[in-house]
Subunit: 372 residues, 3 copies
């Protein structure tokens, strides 16, 4: 039995095998219609995400399996104070595989410690969203023919947005890939990611405008750019137009460019671009369902058995990241990897965490926030 | 590929074929249990409607297909500001057929412009609810033997209530049908419908009380009559009893009368009437599921292909109806048919719409309202 | 056709048959994977209960059937004022079997009066939760080999908690069972239950601490103990530790003890106990799904037909229990059994009920409360 917590859980050979299965499902979907007959997916969404939840649900259904879905922790045992551990063990008794979306960073790894069936990370706070990465890689591979030598531009808010960070990390495993990072100065990639790229000797450049980068790109990966991320409203108004993709900007691009976006978009891609055959973001969403079918099928085919040994060693140091799942679920053992928290990847410090544990609240807009 | 936006989308021959299929499913349900195996319905309900949503879900399940359902736009990408167009294109990638319920008038036609799979109108604001019309026609046809020469009374609030308007329009296509329209003076049918009936030379009478009409009716179609629709509380109290169906009133009716109601009822039909074999409103709801099975099967059997040509021409005039979907979704092209907005059927005026676009809010009671 | 409203609806032979089917499903689950193909479960949850709802949903899915689920009455016809009767008749037209969870006591019996398909009581207020009782009995029988001569301790809040009351009543049907009732003085079993035990000559003892009882027990059934149930905060702080199960307390117990809990737990069982092989509460939840499969299969196999005759006679006396379903649904006929309300088991008094009907509100925590 295996889990899928992070894209790096896959060896290159496993990724190749996953892609081959994805490709085969697309060519012969009818042959897969009964593959998961009698199997059940537990879709545990501790925060709403219609798109991802639908993608998993339909993926399981198109394999002939069925689904039970939690989409509102407010109306569940969770709101009665049940621990993640207990919920996961209970659902392990009902489901054959679990897809977990959770506002806490590291929640999927935490769940995998207790689950008796495979756990898929469907997004753990701002930390990882590895099935989006699978969708992105599968889309580029299918529509371009491969990932080697790819010249990809990321445009928008590169500071936040786990989607971009995960894809950059994943692509750096493939030979000859180069990055063009296009963002306002206040929203460049985080330092840890820049350090990672340097350490690997990865080719990348940073820029503040889209126009000059455009003609060289094989892929343009657009992201949402939210007003509240800017230092001031003036700065937002000044910059926003620079990062909005229009038909005019598309004129300078290569004829085989792929324009991608994790969706939902707000206004960073003008609707007129939708008619351009190079706009593949809707196809990217559709292919995401098929890559999730391939992933589910792979995990359901693993022989049942003991949990794999954890790759991480226990440690005495507690994580100080208030958004880490260990801040909310007190029973979790401290786990380290290379000086970092194995759950959330935050660097572990010597000083102990503050006495007041982080608490997760539901704010008015329905998204979950943390306070200390 | 076809959509089902309005009952008038069906030719008489198509209605006959749909009814024949419905009738066959009722007689041999087991033969249809695997017809939609491997197919997926996306039930996109932008406003809650348990009854209609359940009816569609079970219809798809009883054909062997599966369902993913959105029932709370508050917890979805929609609440992040995603356009109807984007949601529809995304769901087209997951589903084989879409049932859309939306608070905006014309939303189903708008969705059909972008969907890559058939769209069924499961209610678009106060505009249309054509699968309810199918349920009504199928119920009368099955329980009475046919629609020709039908004498049908509509009782209650005939001013609001798209159900009644749609059924009147649909029935006027059949020979010899006559209408008895029974309502308080303030709640008679709207002028456009009266004009429609005159233009067709349709036989109808209007009345303010139920008792005298009762003995002549083949069908009595009851509707909810809400206090807030009346000019004053006094007027409500004065009238309400007149439009409540009781066992006593049933005594004057024909032995083969059919009492129908779109449900849910509140108190316009006394529970004692439920025991009367002429009360067929629960059977009407049950048959509604079977007619949706027939509709789904028909649309899923259409050959996939290009979208049909729109029957409407583009126009320069914008619709001024604040509840029209074009008021909320700015990218929609203006479309006209015979001087009316093709989306919502509002008469197009020369004057441009106001500058302030209509916005859709969720009120406390969970229903969506519009303000300008 | 049959309903399952209370565990006492089953004869001893029927329980034996149900257990045999449950045992067979566990041994050969694949043989049952198509048993309910084409059948539909309506899961009508008028108050949220993820655990029970999931258990029913997956049970139906693992039999090859499908499910439609209502989990939020706030967004349904129910919130438009529809009666339970109308909702049940409508759902009877869609479903082959209904599982009903409702905040009113007696709601399941009320539903069974109008349903045209079998109704399963999935919890009716504080009254009954008979499928939890099935799960408990099946767990003990499977893990211990039988129920005869069982020495079972119930620990925690024994005053509230229908789970405990139902299990005590059910176990008293088996020979040689003895009870050890461990609770703070303010939270002992209710008088009616003590009277019931006396009347049957049932062996039981009451105690205020867990430690001395521990070594004699075959089963320890833990329950949640909520601070707000105590007369004062001081009393809560004084008592709570006594009723928390720890690894230390487990040391004095028999090697074949079974520790059970209806879940979700809060902190009445320390997580360290989870590692003990005698902790079977998660297995109990898992087996609950299998016993629901056996129940569904049994009810779906009954020949369709007329409703069984009611075992209760109509009466003139109205029930005065403000939490009884008759207080909310005015059309229900008064029904008596042995001087009690047949719906909620409240003793019927001579005095008429108060004029102000009970109303059901949704409180902030999402649970429903009643006020007069």
């Amino acid at each position: 039995m295996r889990h899928f917590i992070d894209f790096s859980d896959l060896t290159p050979a496993e990724w190749t095998e996953l892609y081959r299965r994805f490709d085969d499902i697309l060519r012969r979907p009818a042959d897969y219609r009964e593959c998961a007959r009698g199997r059940v997916l537990g879709a545990l969404f501790y925060e709403p995400s219609t798109r991802t939840s639908f993608s998993f649900q339909v993926a399981m259904q198109r394999l002939g399996g069925s689904v039970f879905a939690m989409s509102e922790p407010g109306s569940t045992s969770v709101s009665k104070g049940e621990s993640l551990k207990d919920t996961i063990i209970m659902c392990s008794g009902y489901a054959d595989v679990i897809a977990l979306r959770h506002p806490c960073e590291g929640a999927a790894l935490a769940a995998s410690l207790y689950a008796r069936v495979p756990v898929i990370n469907a997004g753990d706070g701002g930390h990882m969203h590895p099935t989006q990465t699978l969708a992105d890689l599968a889309t580029i591979t299918r529509l371009r023919g491969g990932l080697d030598g790819l010249r990809i531009g990321f445009c928008g808010d590169l500071k936040h947005g786990r989607t971009v960070h995960s894809l950059i990390c994943a692509l750096s495993r493939f030979p000859g890939v180069s990055f063009r990072l296009i963002s306002p100065p206040a929203l460049t990639i985080p330092d840890y990611l820049r350090a990672f790229l340097h350490a690997r000797g990865q080719r990348y450049t940073e820029a503040t405008e889209l126009d000059t980068a455009m003609p060289q790109l094989d892929v343009l990966y657009m992201t949402r750019i939210q007003q509240e991320r800017f230092p001031s409203r003036e700065e937002y108004e000044e910059h926003r137009g620079v990062y909005v993709l229009t038909a005019a900007k598309m004129r300078t691009a290569r004829p085989d460019l792929l324009v991608m976006h994790p969706l939902p978009r707000v206004d960073e891609i003008h609707p007129e671009v939708d008619e351009d055959p190079r706009a593949v973001y809707f196809e990217q969403a559709r292919l995401g369902m098929y890559v999730r079918m391939a992933l589910l099928l792979g995990l359901l085919s693993e022989p049942a058995g003991a949990l794999p040994d954890l790759a991480y060693r226990g440690g005495a140091r507690l994580c100080a990241n208030p958004r880490c799942v260990t801040a909310r679920e007190a029973y979790l053992p401290p786990l380290e990897k290379e000086g970092r928290c194995a759950y959330c990847d935050a660097r572990l410090r010597i000083s102990p965490p503050s006495d007041t544990p982080a608490k997760c609240h539901q704010n008015d807009a329905g998204t979950q926030i943390f306070s200390c």
